[in-house]
């Protein structure tokens, strides 16, 4: 097994374990930490795929902002103190659908003849920057508006109204 293969399996395992931790753990704080593991492992996978910038963004935003925010909210809502989380009756249906999807998807992926392109060693990061500001300038500007809306919405809903 080559180095790249070993890394892929290790990181893949970490990601899946983290994911299982998020959905199966009874203590929600443990779930948050499992999420962190999963997200960092995904960043590693991006590095394997020669997407270094994306790996950086993943660690910074997901690991650095989102997980921290999640932990804060868990603390503020005292979720760590009631670790017994009994889950709801929708579980069997969700389980069946998930497993079914996984089976169908995996089989289909191997049956498909993908149009593989000749991949260079790694594409220069400036290509990504250039395309974001040229080809994808409209989504880029709209994304800034999306963040503004999320910000406004969060402040409005989370603020205490003077009673």
């Amino acid at each position: 097994m080559t180095g790249a293969q070993f890394l892929f399996y290790a990181l893949g395992l970490a990601t899946v374990m983290g994911g299982l931790g998020v959905v199966l753990s009874r203590n929600v704080v443990h779930s948050a930490l499992a999420l962190l593991l999963s997200l960092i492992a995904v960043a590693g996978i991006y590095v394997l795929l020669y997407a270094e910038f994306l790996a950086l963004v993943q660690v910074l935003i997901y690991g650095g902002a989102i997980v921290i925010l999640l932990l804060f909210v868990l603390m503020l809502t005292r979720s760590g103190e009631s670790p017994l989380v009994l889950d709801n009756p929708q579980k069997p249906v969700a389980l069946v659908v998930s497993l079914l999807f996984m089976a169908i998807a995996i089989v289909s992926f191997f049956l498909t003849r993908w149009k593989l392109a000749q991949a260079p060693r790694g594409v220069d990061f400036s290509v990504l920057g250039g395309s974001l500001f040229q080809d994808w300038v409209l989504p880029f500007e709209v994304a800034s508006l999306v963040l503004l809306v999320a910000l406004m919405g969060a402040i409005i809903i989370a603020r205490e109204s003077p009673q």
Binding site: G19, V22, D87, N88, L128, A158
Partner: protein
């Protein structure tokens, strides 16, 4: 390539299935949000892998992934703010206890 495209896609599919299961079966609203983040990550792994193997010079998948991360961050922030709002008035974060609307 020692690791083929299909392997990454399978990883993405597994993660997506795990996240989907979590989103539908967990009780704690924050845990549901976390499962949704897993789903978004699964999508992103799929995008980035496809970017590398199918459109390596255009990086389309990576661009898409960047936007997904952006939106996911915004949604998480808004969702958590709403959860705080609910906690403040009803002291719960469990979705089955949120039954004021006859759902």
């Amino acid at each position: 390539m020692s690791v083929q495209l299909e392997h990454y896609l399978v990883l993405g599919a597994i993660l997506f299935a795990i996240g989907f299961y979590g989103a539908l079966s967990r009780r704690n609203a924050v845990a549901i949000l976390m499962s949704i983040e897993i789903m978004f990550n699964a999508v992103n792994v799929t995008f980035v892998a496809l970017s590398r193997y199918v459109t390596p010079t255009l990086l389309t998948g990576q661009v898409f992934a960047i936007f997904v991360i952006t939106v996911a961050a915004g949604e998480a922030a808004l969702g958590l703010a709403i959860i705080i709002g609910i906690y403040r008035s009803r002291a719960t974060v469990h979705v089955d206890e949120m039954d004021l609307l006859k759902g």
